[in-house]
Structures are given as structure tokens and as C-alpha cells.
Symmetry: C2
């Protein structure tokens, strides 16, 4: 990875993987970009950032000169309280755009931390304006991503505010599974889950102990398997029933 360092030190970083060849482009969930758009994105991109699991990407209430797209790995967004409690707001996976708030407001409103080793595409914040000025389609995409984030937080809110323990646990498992699938990580209904039960607990607003006990009850349904690092979905329809039929945003999504 020392070569990476060199590239970044160069300034222009001309030898980064061209965006047009980005392996994520093949994932069917993403919309197709025009050659011009791809060219701009490639020029927008100023580097790659490799972080190991447990690294902090953003700290609440701070600013950053960068915007990122997740190329690989998982991260999570959270807000923490004075006394150590924390609320997980959302998870970020390959294809997700993070740090938009830091570019739009004076500072970001939540922290972001990696769950696994992560590779990020780095974009300089000041070029976001160029994007808006010259690439209407991409500007619309950025708005799309912001609106989708809002939509997901709305789903979380309904789950936390109104659902029972079983429903909430089923919800978060299903949600994470679906997000993983959209990013092309699921094979044979199996995917690596880097989450601890504490992450899930903090996302659905339960204590770790209660989450654990609920999870135990849920496992008995046999609708999924999750012990060890691999999560396997066995009956997604039943899970959706348990979770209270969420309907995630449909259609192709943009991926900068």
C-alpha cells in the first residue's frame, strides 16, 4: 500500500483505477452513466483512502475537505451522547456516498466509523459545485442519494418508534441483508456480516442484552442463520413479514 501513498503525494494522482473500469459499475443496482459523466467522475476523484476496521472517517460536528464513496467494506454512521450511549443512524456499504452533510452544511452531524477494512474514493469538496454547475444528471443523483438517506432514516424511525422487539430485530437483519444484496455482496443468500450484536442494538434502540435475547427467539424461526461471521437468509418473505413489510426505495441508484 505504499504505492498508494506515492500516488496521493503526486497531487494529481493520475494513475488511479479509472472509474469506467470500477468493478462496482457491473453491479446491476446502479444506474448506467454516460461516458462524459464517467469522465467527470474520474476527474472529480482525487484519490483513494484505505482504512482498517475500527477507523473513524468523520467525527460529529467537524468539517472535512473531502467527500467519499465507499468502494468496498462496511461503515456505520452514529451519534453519541455525553454518557456513552450511542445511536446508529445507518450503515454504509459499497456504492454509498458519505460526507455530503459536511460539504453542504458547515459541519457533519454524525460520526462515521469503519466496521471492516474499507476502501474509499476521495473527492474534493470544492469540486462538488462544479458537479452541480456542469452535470445536471449527477447533481440530481446527489439529491437522489440524500433523499434516499432520508427515506432510510424514516424506515428506522418507524421501526424504533412503533415496532416490537421481534419486529425490530427482524427489520435490521433484513435491512442489512437487502443493502448488502444491492451492493452485490450476497451469493447464495449468504453474506459476511461484520456487525456485533451491539451495533444492531444501537441501531434499533435496545440494550445489548435485550437484543441478544430477542435474537435468540428469532433464530428459532429458522428464517435465517447467523452464528459466526456469515449471515444466511433462509426465508426472506417470512422475514419481511416479521419485520413489518418495509418497502425500500426501488429502482436503479446512482453511484458516483
Amino acid at each position: 500500500m505504499t504505492s498508494l501513498r506515492k500516488k496521493r503525494a503526486d497531487g494529481a494522482a493520475p494513475t488511479l483505477t479509472p472509474c469506467a473500469q470500477c468493478p462496482l459499475r457491473k453491479v446491476p443496482a446502479f444506474r448506467k452513466f454516460s461516458p462524459q459523466e464517467l469522465e467527470f467522475i474520474a476527474s472529480f476523484k482525487s484519490g483513494e483512502l484505505r482504512l482498517e476496521a475500527g477507523s473513524t472517517i468523520f467525527v460529529e460536528e467537524t468539517n472535512s475537505p473531502h467527500l467519499y464513496t465507499v468502494l468496498s467494506g462496511w461503515a456505520f454512521k452514529y451519534k453519541s451522547l455525553e454518557d456513552g450511549r450511542r445511536q446508529v443512524l445507518n450503515f454504509a456499504v459499497a456504492g454509498d456516498f458519505i460526507g455530503l452533510q459536511a460539504s453542504i452544511f458547515d459541519s457533519i452531524r454524525h460520526s462515521i466509523e469503519t466496521l471492516t477494512d474499507v476502501v474509499l474514493c476521495v473527492f474534493p469538496r470544492e469540486k462538488l459545485w462544479t458537479l452541480f454547475e456542469n452535470y445536471t444528471g449527477l447533481a440530481f443523483d446527489v439529491t437522489w442519494l440524500a433523499a434516499r438517506e432520508e427515506s432510510i432514516l424514516g424506515d428506522y424511525l418507524v421501526s424504533i418508534g412503533q415496532r416490537s422487539a421481534t419486529e425490530r430485530v427482524a427489520f435490521i437483519l433484513l435491512h442489512l441483508f437487502v443493502r448488502a444484496r444491492q451492493s452485490g455482496l450476497v451469493r447464495d443468500n449468504k453474506v459476511a456480516f461484520p456487525f456485533t450484536q451491539e451495533h444492531l442494538a444501537d441501531a434499533i434502540g435496545f440494550s445489548l442484552v435485550h437484543t441478544n435475547k430477542t435474537l435468540k427467539r428469532l433464530r428459532k424461526t429458522g428464517y435465517f442463520r447467523w452464528s459466526g461471521p456469515i449471515f444466511e437468509m433462509v426465508d426472506e418473505a417470512k422475514m419481511a413479514e416479521l419485520a413489518g413489510a418495509l418497502s425500500p426505495v426501488e429502482g436503479k441508484r446512482p453511484f458516483l
Copy 2:
């Protein structure tokens, strides 16, 4: 108000209140727009919609050819469950932009209902694209508004997921008061609150009964007064302390 009907029937609606003279423009919380921008907004606007309290503006999972800005009155966004439970996601007040999801996705993800009589500016959805193509600043504003919405939902999530009963009730009261003030509705620390305790309960994820009892306890602090339609903030700093110091998005905000 029959003249309104006529105007809308005309098609072009050339005689609507010019946006440049919109009384909301004077509210200090909104950013200043250039004459060109104001002109475009005026041309973007296709009419006004007047609704009485209790009207439904959007229904979850449906589509709409319109986008709206709230000119006056209060509304709230919510999602309902099969069995009647519902989660209030956010409130909308003068200056807020609603229905963006319906224009960006195939359908909106939540319902919106008026709490008071409401006047809305109507924008045709298809012109949103024109806005993005020709008015970079306004496109950025739309994204700003979407990101702010996300930010508010994040605050709600922290409150519902982690806070105690007292903290949650203090949070929602303070939040509504601050929103009202940003829209210029507060005078002498007083503002008309059209909310029932049930609205608040549905926003903070508590039962009506428990919300009521918590509210009773909170009233004894004397930090606010709320019986009858008028809410009065007595000690905002203390309320913020109780609510757990939320930090709403700062700075001038756009208002289309």
C-alpha cells in the same frame, strides 16, 4: 377565494402573488435570492393550494405531479402501520419544501397531513429538472433541504432510540419551538401550537398516556407553559439541557 379557483383554471396563473413580494422573504432565517432566481421561482410556481386543517396532502406510496412549499400553517409527515399505529417523521412549517421524494423516486414514502389551515405554493414536478439544469444555486438548495431533512430525522432517531421519557418530551417541544421561530412565528417567546398530545406521542414513540404523564411532570419545572393553544417558552437553555443539547442545522436556509 373563488378568484383563486379562476386563476388556477387559467392555466398559466399569471396573477399570483409575485414571489419577490412573498412575506416570508422577510424572515431572517432564509437566504437572499438573486433577482434571476426569484424570477425563475415565480415562473416555477404554478399556483396556490389552500387546505383546511386535517387535509391530506400526500398519501404514502403514491405519486404526485406537484411539489409544494408551505406558505403558512403546519403539517406533519407520518407513516402508518397496518394496525393503526403511526410514526410521525417530522413537522412542516412555513418555508418548508414538501413532496421532493415524490418527484425524485417513483413515489413518496410517507403521508403528509395538515394540522391547521394551510396555504401551499404549487410547483409542477417536471420543472424541477429545469431548475437543476439552469439554476445551480437552486439545485444546490434543493439538496440542502434534503440533507437538512435527513439531519432532523437523525435527531429524532437519537431521541427515540436513546433518550428517556423526560428528555424526549423536552426534545420535541424545544424542536417545535425552534422550528416555529425559524419561520418567524414566535413573538415574545409565544407561539400557537396546533399539536395534540397524540401528535407528540407519535413523534417520540410513546403512548399517549405516558406522554401525558411525562408532560405533567415536565410542566412542573416551569421552563415552559402549554395549556390551551399557546405554547410559551420560559427558559430555553434549561429546556435544551433537559432535551440533551440538540444542535440544529445552522445558517441561512433556502426557501423556494
